[in-house]
């Protein structure tokens, strides 16, 4: 296939950005406020899918695909599965927030203040956050680019890390089985 050069810029970027961002924020708020864990999970799935859209806007289609297939299709199914296994009506009637919720929100607010402080002070100089510039970008080769960073013989910077990640997954599998299984 001919490498396709993205000559035409993405259209209506602000429209999509704000739309998807709104979906994500609303989804996030729903995740942390819903009583029913299944509703939370559905909100989280919406958030994740919207984020996949943002990845596409950032010219990261491969990450977007991984996001859909792993996060929305894999991890969230796992979550739903567990929620259904342990769904007890009792939890719906109980207190949803813990005793230190006020402290938690204050702490989070402080963290938010820190974010605001950092972003406002550093963006004044305009060093760190210029507009996302347009790059002459070989669109069709995003996947190949990611792959070459991961496991190309010459450019594979993250080859070792990638292999270690597989070890991590193996450990996670064993751990999950040991934890969840009643009798091994």
């Amino acid at each position: 296939m001919n490498p396709q050069v993205a000559a035409n810029p993405p259209v209506a970027t602000p429209f999509f950005f704000y739309g998807l961002a709104a979906i994500m924020i609303i989804g996030g708020i729903l995740v942390i406020t819903r009583k029913n864990a299944v509703h939370s999970a559905m909100a989280l799935i919406t958030t994740l899918l919207a984020q996949a859209g943002l990845y596409l806007m950032l010219y990261a289609p491969f990450v977007a695909g991984v996001q859909i297939i792993l996060y929305a299709g894999g991890i969230m199914v796992l979550f739903l599965f567990v929620i259904m296994l342990i769904s007890i009506e009792r939890t719906l009637k109980e207190r949803q927030f813990n005793k230190q919720w006020l402290i938690g929100i204050v702490a989070a607010g402080a963290l938010g203040g820190l974010f605001i402080a950092v972003y406002t002070t550093t963006s004044k100089g305009g060093i760190l956050f210029p507009p996302v510039g347009r790059v002459s970008y070989v669109e069709a080769q995003n996947t190949q680019g990611v792959a070459s960073l991961l496991f190309d013989l010459h450019t594979g910077t993250y080859m070792f890390a990638f292999e270690i990640a597989s070890l991590l997954l193996l450990v996670a599998i064993i751990g999950a089985v040991v934890m969840a299984k009643k009798r091994i």
């Binding site: 296994l85 342990i86 007890i88 009643k182």
Partner: protein, 383 residues
């Protein structure tokens, strides 16, 4: 947790724990369920998908057949027996007629006996075909059902031509037959034998070597011959467990001793063996039919039976090999025209008692396979 292999009475209270925790779940299957072959209700206690035990709740189809008998004359009761195992009505009639004949000390003439054997064996094939179709349907193979029903239709046509009824035939009378075989009866039966042989191969082609069928039936619902005898299980279920017991050979009735046939037995007592046993039985039935058709003697079809039947005081137990197992009639006569008591030993009812022992430790899907392989008819279980 109790040992799943011991037959302790089930404690079927609602489990107080949620189902992840103890993994125990009580599920009610039926009476309205596509795989319980009528109105059987099974209460399952599950550990995840594993069956810890089950209880059958029966009686949804109870019509009091045995009680009805006490208010009917011997002749009048004859049609009622057809309604018990309605897919093998002819066998029911044969058992009842022979029992009363024994009580009256009469014997049906040879021609009648030959025709009785032909019809009974045809009925056995029909019953097995229906069993095969529904059993395969339970396991998920939908096509054999249509094949078996297509071929069973031919048998029902012969019944219809013979006595006018297809299902509840009321074909036999005490002392012989009501109807002489119609013209071309022998030809029809012979044609049927030739017709159905390749069809049985066809069923086997679909199932016998099918990998999925093997996996679904081998080692499923195993019951040992000892357990079978202890529970009184008879018929193909008993034979599949390796016990060579067929009343046609062991206690010959009608004129089965005149015919040359074999009794198939299985080894493992699992669902697959029961399937194979029944398939061979169909072929053996064809063998019997062919011999019988070739040797129908001429002569009367009705023995001398008094118009008003008053059997002498006494009791009699007579059993025959129905398609599903030993079908026995215990009749107590007080010398009047009506039986004092009739007790039926229905094969389905007795075989159903093995369901629990066959299902313990199996999975839910196997329960359906096992119910299918027991070949129960609720009309007979509940009577």
């Amino acid at each position: 947790m109790t040992d799943p292999n011991t037959l302790s009475p089930l404690d079927l209270d609602t489990p107080d724990k949620t189902f992840l925790d103890s993994n125990e779940l009580v599920i009610n299957m039926g009476p309205q369920h596509p795989a319980t072959h009528g109105v059987l209700r099974v209460i399952l206690r599950l550990d995840g998908e594993k069956v810890l035990g089950l209880e059958c709740v029966i009686g949804y189809l109870h019509r009091g057949v045995e009680k009805i008998a006490e208010n009917r004359t011997y002749t009048m009761f004859n049609p009622y027996v057809d309604r018990m195992d309605y897919v093998a009505a002819v066998s029911n009639g044969l058992g009842y007629c022979e029992a009363v004949e024994k009580l009256l000390s009469v014997e049906a003439p040879p021609r009648a006996q030959y025709i009785r054997v032909i019809l009974t064996e045809l009925n056995r094939i029909a019953s097995h075909q229906l069993w095969l179709g529904t059993h395969a349907l339970d396991i998920g193979a939908i096509t054999p059902l249509f094949y078996t029903f297509r071929d069973r239709e031919e048998i029902l046509k012969i019944f219809e031509k013979y006595c006018g009824a297809r299902l509840t035939t009321h074909a036999f009378r005490i002392g012989g037959l009501q109807y002489e075989a119609y013209d071309g009866f022998e030809k029809d039966v012979k044609a049927f034998c030739d017709f159905v042989k390749p069809k049985i191969d066809e069923y086997e082609e679909l199932l016998t070597t099918n990998r999925i069928w093997l996996e679904r039936t081998k080692g499923v619902g195993v019951i040992s011959g000892k357990d079978c005898i202890a529970l009184g299980v008879t018929g193909p279920v008993l034979r599949a467990s390796g016990v060579k017991w067929d009343i046609r050979k062991a206690l010959p009735y009608a004129n089965y001793k005149n015919f040359d046939f074999e009794i198939p037995t299985g080894e493992n007592g699992d669902t697959y063996d029961r399937y194979i046993v029944r398939m061979i039985e169909m072929r053996q039935s064809l063998r019997i039919i062919e011999q019988a058709v070739a040797g129908i003697p001429e002569g009367p079809i009705m023995a001398k039976v008094p118009k008003v039947m008053k059997p002498p005081v006494g009791e009699i137990y007579h059993s025959i090999e129905a398609p599903k197992g030993e079908l026995g009639y215990f009749i107590v006569s007080d010398g009047s025209t009506q039986p004092y008591r009739i007790r039926v030993r229905p094969p389905s009812f007795v075989n159903l008692q093995a369901l629990d022992i066959m299902c313990r430790g199996q999975l839910v899907a196997d329960v359906i396979a096992v119910i299918g392989t027991l070949d129960i008819v609720l009309g007979e279980v509940d009577r």
